[in-house]
Amino acid sequence: MTGKARWLAARLGNAVVVVFGVATASFLAVHLAPGDPVRTLLGPQALTGTVEQVRHELGYDQPLLTQYLRFLGSLLHGDLGTSYQLQEPVSRLILSQIGSTAQLAVAGFVLAMAVAVGLAIATSGRRPFWRRVSSLFELIATASPTFWTGIVLLTIFSFHLNLFPAAGAGLRGLVLPAVTLALSLVGVFTQMLRQGMEQALDQPFTLSARARGVGETSVRATHALRHALIPVVTLSGWVVGNLLGGAVVVETLFTRQGIGQIMAAAIASRDLPVVTGVTIVSAVIFIVVNLVVDVVYHLVDPRLRTEGRA
């Protein structure tokens, strides 16, 4: 086994442990929360006979350990179960929703990154007035709750100017939700990038690039930016969490499809298979992103590459 393969195997082993832990934690969270899960599921007006029947069907009358082993057993078969509420396979439910969330998250991320890169290149270590304007914008964007930003954008661009629909699919319907989500990230991105770039611009390699006659834009866009990207990559875990969390709020406000919404409803109604299913899928996304980040690290930071070989 080569070093790289061993590294990958260890990572995958870790991933399995994490998924197992996450599955167990979400199972326990649903089962140990106060209240009768079957009554919560069926609501106050279901007949007592129905409640007892469903309790038996779902295995809630079994000891917790039996329920847990059963749950693990079906999970090992790759079966996420069937939603108690929608009476639909959880895997199908998640597949039908995750595309919409991914679309929103990617659009929000790309938009935030594009604006942040533009602002950082334009204002790092120069144009003090515009740098201050940009800083103010970053502060406001970071400090505003996503919900509030969304309402403001809706009021202006949808209700008054009628440019974009308040609720709707397609590219046009994606614009306001993506901008709302991007605004929650753009402040942090810009500040990190600018700080990194300003550090980089003081470095000897910048001086030597300038000495070789490289133009200012090129110095910033290639040399300094690459240096400044490293801390942003480190932040990826936070970014993914923020994107998924922000997506719940944005999806609610703009009545978009998405797994966040499904999850919120499932938690309220104790729809165990959906709660564990979405949690496991989110954990897998998280793990994959972190794996990708590690690989990207190796690409962005040459020091890691040589260390790896040593």
Binding site: A33, P34, G35, D36, T40, L42, G43, P44, Q45, A46, L47, T50, V54, Q85, L86, Q87, E88, L93, S96, Q97, V110, M113, A114, V117, G118, I151, L154, S158, F159, N162, F164, P165, A166, A167, G168, A169, L171, R172, L174, V175, G213, V214, T217, S218, A221, T222, L225, R226, E251, T252, L253, T255, R256, Q257, G258, Q261, I262, A265, A268, R270
Partner: protein, 547 residues
């Protein structure tokens, strides 16, 4: 080598960013040049409401929004009008046996479900059997037809339904969307997918459900069997209805004001006056029948077990002023646990108590709460007069939370320490079953006074899956409530319900707060809107005028 690097174009990230910006910019241009985002005049009505169904099988879901959507997809055997009368629909006529336990329905001929299955007596039997089948996991419909013991198909156009005991509320139950008749073909072949793909014989066909976003219905062109109570016959004038699920009140209102929705549900009380002043918008409203929004006093636990304390709490609250302030003057203050739009409502209870802080003080003194602690609250034997009112922040509507804070402030004047405590839904359920609380609040929409039995009968304790949140066990009250549902004579029923309401008010078992109203905002081009007896908007007679 070095010189080559200089000339290399900016890095990959920059190119990606530039591409993304171009993409977004072109998307934006497309929008500006594209169609008007306001709903196009194509005969499809966009209706924005605040919640989405969890399952579209009408026999499963208890939610109002399910009934709202399913009302257009499913027909019922009979239709009810707000005046309490029943009219033919899928049943052209019916007879009731002298012992009130057998209903014989003669069915309409030629009705075809959306999946081409014909409607006949077996469809009625299949639907009722489905409602009470434990496998259905019914959350509401099974309760509506609790006395159902079975149906007999006499011939294709005649069905006999048997009940275990007389039930005066049975026809009303059948008239609701919750007992809409399903295609028997769908019930057997689509059994695992009834939540996601409802098949009825109603004026609009189900097309799709994008979870969290919208449900699309389209006109059923063959429809020719509308209820006798409708304003027109034949298919709908609308080509379809799109239900959008918009949780936020201000976003729903914005969609209406900008013409992105033709109608919005639950117009906030604070916006009603604005909409009224506009020529382009209209307000439609229907008072909800059934149990009004009320506060239940736990009569079998703690300080409120003493009737004088309950009277004192009631007398200490200036309800007229409170309701007016909280609802922006939109809701009528309630006097009876039963709404004025419900059969059997007793107007005699109006004005039967007053806001009287002095009386409240005297009653509390009489009840022995004469001491005062450091914070000014009344005490008895060193124990503070404190009341617990738990609620679920996820479920409780904001105006009700404001009201509770108002009540809290009013009773504090009388020396009562009322805690209005946000509680996790699961824990709240446990406490409700155990009766570990002093005050609870809710409302139940139903066009049938029998709802009182669900919330005040001693057999309907929360532990039994009932709604008796006053935890009252009064043989007198049980007697009236049971008698009223065992007879079909309207006068006898009304008399029994009158006694029940007077009892509840006289003994301060609950405090009726306000009569909920379904307030809908609509563009002026929406014509022909009416409401079901349960205060739900009906789309069958609606049309869109070309403006």
């Amino acid at each position: 080598m070095n010189s080559e690097r200089h000339r290399r174009p900016p890095g990959r990230v920059i190119r990606l960013a530039a591409a993304a910006l171009t993409l977004l910019a072109s998307a934006g241009c497309g929008v500006l040049a594209g169609a008007d985002p306001a709903s196009a005049p194509d005969g499809v009505l966009t209706f924005a409401t605040n919640a989405q169904p969890e399952c579209l099988d009408p026999q499963v879901s208890p939610l109002d929004v399910t009934a709202l959507v399913d009302r257009s997809v499913f027909d019922s055997l009979v239709s009810m009008t707000p005046d309490g009368k029943f009219h033919p629909w899928l049943a052209t006529s019916w007879t009731v046996s002298p012992d009130q336990r057998t209903y014989t329905f003669h069915l309409r001929h030629g009705v075809v479900f959306h999946d081409s299955a014909p409607f006949d007596a077996s469809a009625v039997k299949a639907t009722l059997d489905h409602a009470v089948d434990p496998k259905t996991r019914s959350k509401y419909a099974a309760r509506l037809v609790r006395g159902y013991t079975g149906a007999t198909v006499l011939d294709a156009d005649t069905v006999q339904v048997a009940l275990s005991r007389p039930d005066a509320s049975f026809l009303q139950a059948l008239s609701t969307a919750y007992l809409g008749i399903q295609s028997p073909k769908s019930l057997s072949q689509n059994a695992n997918n009834l939540c996601e793909r409802p098949v009825g014989s109603g004026p609009l066909r189900f097309v799709s459900w994008d979870h969290n976003s919208k449900i699309t219905l389209t006109r059923y062109d063959a429809y020719d069997w509308g209820p006798a109570s409708a304003a027109h016959t034949g298919p709908t004038a609308l080509r379809g209805v799109v239900f959008r699920f918009v949780t936020d009140d201000s976003v729903r209102f914005g969609m209406l004001a900008s013409g992105q929705a033709d109608m919005v549900d639950f117009l906030p009380n604070s916006k009603v006056a604005t909409v009224r002043r506009s020529d382009a918008l209209h307000v439609y409203r229907a008072p909800a029948p059934g149990a009004v929004y009320q506060v239940y006093f736990n009569v079998s636990h703690g300080p409120l077990a003493d009737e004088r304390v309950r009277q004192a709490v009631r007398a200490s609250i200036d309800l007229d002023a409170l309701v007016k302030a909280v609802t922006f003057g939109q809701f009528q203050r309630a006097w009876s646990p039963l709404g004025p739009a419900t059969l059997g409502y007793d107007p005699q209870v109006v004005g039967s108590w007053q806001h009287d802080p002095a009386l409240a003080g005297r009653l509390l003194d009489e009840a022995g709460w004469t001491g005062r602690d450091a914070e000014g609250f009344r005490t008895k034997n060193g124990v503070r007069l404190s009341l617990l009112w738990p609620y679920s922040p996820r479920v409780e509507q904001p105006d009700r939370q404001v009201l509770a804070q108002g009540i809290q402030a009013e009773v504090k004047q009388a020396g009562i320490d009322l805690s209005f405590v946000p509680t996790d839904a699961g824990k709240l359920g446990d406490e409700v079953v155990k009766g570990n609380l002093d005050i609870f609040d809710n409302s139940f929409e139903r066009a049938e006074p029998d709802i009182l039995r669900y919330i005040y009968s001693s057999k309907e304790t929360p532990a039994n899956g009932g709604g008796n949140l006053s935890y009252i066990a009064s043989p007198e009250l049980d007697g009236w409530l049971d008698a009223a549902v065992a007879t079909s004579d309207p006068a006898t029923r009304a008399a029994a319900y009158g006694k029940a309401q007077q009892y509840l008010v006289q003994h301060a078992v609950a405090l009726p707060i306000w009569v909920p109203e379904h307030i809908v905002g609509a563009l002026s081009r929406v014509r022909g809107l009416s409401f079901s007896p349960e205060a739900q908007p009906l789309f069958y007679d609606v049309s869109l005028a070309s403006s």
